[in-house]
């Protein structure tokens, strides 16, 4: 049963990812990315990490991707013509990434396969992650909040910047 769901979610994730890269329409790419993120969230659930799974939906699908789609709809960029005739660089890119995939997979397959460790029912829950977040990882947590503040200020400054020639 679990194996079936693993293959199902992996299939969703990977086919979504392929469509992100291959689809000529930018909006369709973004929608496929959402499907892929959804698949990864499901894999997180299989890996007993419900907190990260919901955060994946809430942050990625609920906020980041909405921004993406918002920008895509505003800019409405023309469909990419470079996909139809693949340039030399693009071909090289595919070759490099497939080479990377092959060597990594070959390396990983030779791992000895550890069994799943028995975990408590509290594993990956909100409580446990929260306690870790505010004790062991308190400093990184505060640093990320600082990072977010910087990002907000940066985005606001960039958004308000008026361009030369009187346009804003």
């Amino acid at each position: 049963m679990q194996l079936f769901f693993f293959y199902l979610f992996s299939l969703i994730t990977l086919s979504g990812a392929v469509l992100v890269v291959a689809h000529p329409n930018t909006l369709s790419s973004a929608m496929s990315l959402i499907v892929s993120l959804f698949g990864v969230a499901c894999l997180f659930v299989l890996l007993a990490a419900p907190f990260v799974a919901t955060m994946q939906l809430l942050l990625y699908a609920g906020a980041i991707m909405v921004l993406f789609i918002f920008v895509i709809m505003l800019l409405n960029p023309s469909t990419n013509r470079l996909v139809k005739r693949l340039s030399f660089g693009g071909l090289l890119g595919i070759l490099i990434s497939s080479y990377l995939a092959v060597i990594l997979v070959l390396r990983v397959v030779s791992f000895n396969k550890p069994e799943e460790v028995a975990i408590s029912s509290d594993y990956g829950s909100l409580r446990e992650v929260g306690q870790l977040l505010f004790s062991t990882y308190l400093v990184p947590f505060e640093v990320t909040s600082l990072l977010l503040l910087v990002a907000i200020i940066g985005a606001v400054v960039l958004g308000r910047q008026s361009l030369p020639g009187g346009r804003s």
């Binding site: 909006l27 419900p50 809430l58 699908a61 609920g62 909405v66 709809m73």
Partner: protein
């Protein structure tokens, strides 16, 4: 056996939501009529039976089913059809973690719960799932190839992202009080006494959450994405027939979910006022098993609470005017967001001082 019970739950619980929708539409029409000093729907009848206007919904359904289904020229057909489907999907998936009654410990030690899944991240799950409904509106607006629809879609997306933050922060205070994100735990934590319910312990969070949920469901005073008087019908202006009906039903389904979540978080969910589960089981009449009686009463009370909040939705819609767009954004970011943060601070200090 367990699988069978789960399947039954999967069938029954979304059915409950679906069957509440015509009731809500009827309620909206009747309440709006009485607020405006009219009688509301009272003509449609089957063999003279009107059911106070409820039969009008059947006429509506027949009308919507038989209308021509139009896909406008220049529309992106795939996303045009996908958009209403997403809305319904989101509404039905979100209902999975809402508890309808207290859990029952069966004879063999297993626990039977009146919800599909008691997730320990239940509340976050609802927030996460309902945040997906923005895609439906965005895609509907964009794929219609209509500038009014597009304006509606853009308005909806910025509005929903903005108010989602307030909603999440208002909920954080509840999480701090209950110490758990499971909806069942939150309901149980409030107890049967009404003055222990979160609406009295967290009044500020209640109003913030209520306002944010009105914004999330695009109801007046936050119905700018539709805004009939400004942008025709907003994101669903090009939709007709059953696709329009899906949007229409989706809005009411979202109302049911929002009401159910508000009732669970702030009004004690399935808690019957003054009667704990044990007391109800003692009071059970002879012809019913005690656990079944308790569950039945609790589910009924919970349903009444849901309907109360739905009524509030309707009441507010026909009483308040619409915000202007800049007012809406200023209200969300400069008023509600700081208040929600302040509420978290006060709750934290309170929890530190009071052991």
């Amino acid at each position: 056996m367990e699988l069978l019970i789960t399947l039954l739950k999967v069938l029954i619980i979304p059915m409950l939501v679906i069957n509440l929708i015509p009731l809500l539409i009827w309620m909206e029409r009747k309440v709006s009529a009485y607020i405006q000093d009219r009688r509301g729907p009272n003509r449609a009848a089957i063999l003279g039976v009107r059911l106070g206007g409820l039969i009008h919904n059947i006429a509506d359904v027949i009308k919507l089913f038989t209308k021509e289904d139009i896909v406008p020229a220049g529309a992106n057909k795939f996303y045009f059809i996908l958009a209403p489907a997403i809305l319904m999907f989101v509404s039905f998936v979100a209902v999975a973690v809402i508890p309808f009654a207290d859990t029952i410990t069966l004879n063999d030690g297993n626990i039977f719960s009146f919800q599909l899944a008691d997730l320990n991240v239940g509340l976050l799950y609802i927030l996460a799932i309902s945040s997906l409904s923005v895609y439906s509106i965005l895609l509907a607006g964009w794929s219609s190839n209509n500038k009014y629809a597009f304006l509606g879609g853009l308005r909806a997306s910025s509005q929903m992202i903005s108010y989602e933050i307030t909603m999440g922060l208002a909920v954080v205070a509840i999480l701090m009080l209950a110490g758990s994100a499971s909806l069942n735990d939150i309901v149980r934590d409030q107890g049967p006494l009404p003055w222990h319910w979160n609406i009295f312990r967290q009044p500020l969070a209640f109003f913030l959450f209520l306002a944010a949920s009105y914004a999330e469901t695009n109801r007046t005073p936050f119905d700018l994405p539709e805004g009939e008087s400004e942008i025709v019908a907003g994101y669903h202006v090009e939709y007709s027939s059953m696709k329009f009906a899906l949007f229409f039903m989706g809005e009411y389904a979202a109302m049911v979910i929002a009401s159910a979540v508000t009732a669970s978080l702030f009004l004690g969910g399935w808690q019957v006022p003054f009667f704990s589960t044990e007391a109800l089981r003692v009071l059970a009449p002879d012809f019913l098993p005690p656990v079944a009686f308790a569950a039945l009463v609790q589910a009924t009370v919970f349903l009444a609470k849901i309907l109360f909040f739905c009524f509030l939705f309707v009441w507010v819609r026909w009483t308040l005017p619409r915000f202007r767009y800049d007012q809406l954004m200023r209200f969300g970011w400069q008023f509600m967001l700081p208040l929600a943060l302040f509420n978290i601070l006060v709750t934290g200090v309170w929890l530190l001082i009071v052991p």
